[in-house]
Amino acid sequence: MTLALTIGILVTGGVYLLLQRGMVRIVLGFVLLSHAVNLLLLSSGVTSRRDAPLMDRADPATAADPLPQAFVLTAIVIAFAITIYMFTLAVARTDDDTEDPS
């Protein structure tokens, strides 16, 4: 439940920021949104099982599902790279924050 609420709040904030004019705010919106999706991915494994999923050491009934965590790790790396690139676009040449005459 806590996880669902957190995802909801993050998506709300993310969408609000995405709809802003300035590029920096849009990037921050994406940061929130990708956190939301990462939590969604985490919650697709059963979150109540939290033992380290080590072969032959953990009880499969209580061990966490490692696959969603691997997904999240991959997604974080990709989101991080794109965030940096988007910040570069935000500072290059012009500032979108101001009114656009065209």
Binding site: I26, V37, L40, L41, S44, F71, I78, I82, L89
Partner: protein
């Protein structure tokens, strides 16, 4: 060929890209490294078509992980056809970029190779999460390519493009998460048919399909394409037009066939959206005044045609759709390359500033009009075969609305192509001294700048005259989508 070599199709372009990032000082080395991997993949792709022509499915599970955890690379005849078409396009567009000098920009070659590696990976993967990863591998270099060496407009287009695609990827990732949450797997083989049985899985998979529809630029989520593509350089537009949206279309075909098992309950949604896409795309083109923006709107309209195959989901419909997809990749890129050549030499793509090019550039005019007639669907080009099969399939399925839309839209397409032809190629040059005048300016399009477009126009002519070969392969590919058991069997137990 052993299936264990399949990952090389992704690895070789990636390694070449890495090598290019270091070795981009010398021009010959750079050009060879840019062209060689695509040429090698083209040869491999054609060989794979030969291997899979009777419906065989090649699978390799990377890194020897047990089934279900491993990363499967799967090639059936549909995949093999797409790999070959993609590699040919990458080759031709790279050649165009080399001739126009776009390829001399630092890292351009590396980015193009990474892009193609991502495309090949996305085509071959048999795993939903890896499809996301490969689509990202394809998109990351595209962000750079779209925004590189241009003015403010290009930068703005780059921002739009990144924002839309990142949002779409996030939605796709959420869809993958939901699918995993409901089913506990992301392996396409294990997911087969689940969306037909369980509405929850269908809802989760629909989130993925929605994201792919945005990437394929289906109306009403097409707005980003018409703004981003005309702003970038001609070579990049041609490359993107052939690769990006088409990968998304391929994924829609694949996912709907495997996950939904062609469930007929949802097909009306598809038919409705593709009809709207065809109409809105073609009408949008009417109001445009530069060659590239007209072509970009037509691309959206044509995407409606291609997706009509999956919306019908009959053997004939799928065959027509797959044929249309391959045909469209060549024709659209050819049009972008021939108008791109004009833009590169005459420095303008606005119709009111061009005129009399046909007399001055007969070769270029042939390349353009061939592809334009093919796009509108006139014989003897491949567009005629594609449209005829598609309309026949729609008649067979008794979807009269879709038939009417498809025929009417082709007429408007022809009108729009004639608009470019009539003003830029045939029209008299404008009086304004700043504008391009076919009779007084000294510039001329060099033959090697026309060659890439000409090669693709020749391909569409060959596909039209010898349509039987590709139709046979497309029919085999369609059979693989109707009955996915061979694909599923291969992915689960390689």
């Amino acid at each position: 060929m052993s299936a264990a070599l399949l990952p090389l199709i992704v690895a070789v372009p990636l390694l070449a890209a890495a090598a290019l990032a270091v070795l981009d000082r010398s021009r010959p080395v750079r050009q060879t490294l840019l062209m060689a991997p695509s040429a090698a993949v083209l040869a491999t792709g054609l060989y794979l078509v030969w291997l899979t022509r009777d419906g065989a499915v090649l699978v390799d599970n990377v890194a020897l992980w047990p089934d279900g955890i491993a990363i499967p690379f799967v090639v059936d005849v549909f995949t093999a056809l797409m790999i070959s078409a993609t590699a040919l396009l990458a080759l031709v567009c790279s050649a165009f970029a080399i001739v126009t000098g776009t390829a001399d920009t630092q890292y351009f070659s590396s980015l193009v190779l990474t892009l193609t590696a991502g495309v090949f990976g996305a085509l071959m993967t048999g795993d939903l999460f890896n499809m996301f990863v490969f689509i990202e591998v394809m998109l990351l270099p595209s962000y750079g390519l779209l925004a590189m060496n241009g003015g403010l407009n290009r930068l703005k287009a780059g921002r739009l493009y990144v924002a839309v695609n990142l949002l779409t990827s996030t939605i796709f990732l959420a869809g993958v998460g939901l699918v995993y949450g409901v089913t506990g797997t992301v392996n396409l083989g294990e997911l087969a048919g689940l969306a037909k049985q369980d509405p929850l899985v269908a809802a989760a998979a629909a989130v993925c399909l929605l994201a792919l529809s945005v990437k394929a630029a289906v109306v009403p989520v097409h707005g980003w394409l018409t703004r981003a593509y005309p702003a970038t350089s001609p070579a990049v537009t041609a490359l993107f037009s052939g690769l990006h949206t088409k990968v998304a279309i391929y994924a829609i075909y694949r996912l709907y066939a495997v996950l939904f098992d062609g469930d007929s309950r949802y097909l009306w949604i598809g038919l409705l959206t593709v009809s709207v896409t065809m109409v809105i795309g073609v009408l949008g083109a009417v109001g445009q005044s530069t060659t590239r923006s007209i072509l970009v709107f037509h691309m959206i309209s044509q995407i409606g045609y291609i997706l009509m195959g999956v919306a019908l989901f009959t053997p004939l419909g799928l065959m027509a759709g797959i044929f249309y997809l391959i045909h469209h990749m060549f024709v659209k890129a050819s049009l972008f390359l021939s108008t791109g050549a004009i833009e590169h030499v005459y420095g303008d793509s606005r119709l009111d500033r061009l005129g009399g090019i046909a007399r001055r550039e007969p070769l270029l005019a042939v390349a353009f009009i061939g592809a334009a007639l093919s796009l509108a669907g006139l014989p003897p080009f491949s567009g005629f075969v594609a449209k005829l099969t598609l309309v026949t399939a729609a008649v067979d399925a008794q979807q009269w609305g879709a038939v009417a839309v498809a025929v009417a839209v082709s007429l408007i397409t022809l009108m729009s192509m004639l608009k470019i032809w009539g003003t830029a190629f045939w029209g008299s040059p404008p009086d304004d001294p700043d504008t391009v005048d076919g009779s007084t300016t000294m510039v001329k399009v060099r033959a090697r700048l026309v060659a890439p477009a000409l090669v693709l126009t020749a391909t569409t002519l060959c596909l039209g005259l010898g349509g039987e070969v590709l139709l046979g392969l497309a029919s085999q590919a369609a059979a693989g989508l109707i009955d996915t058991s061979a694909y599923v069997e291969a992915v689960i137990r390689p």
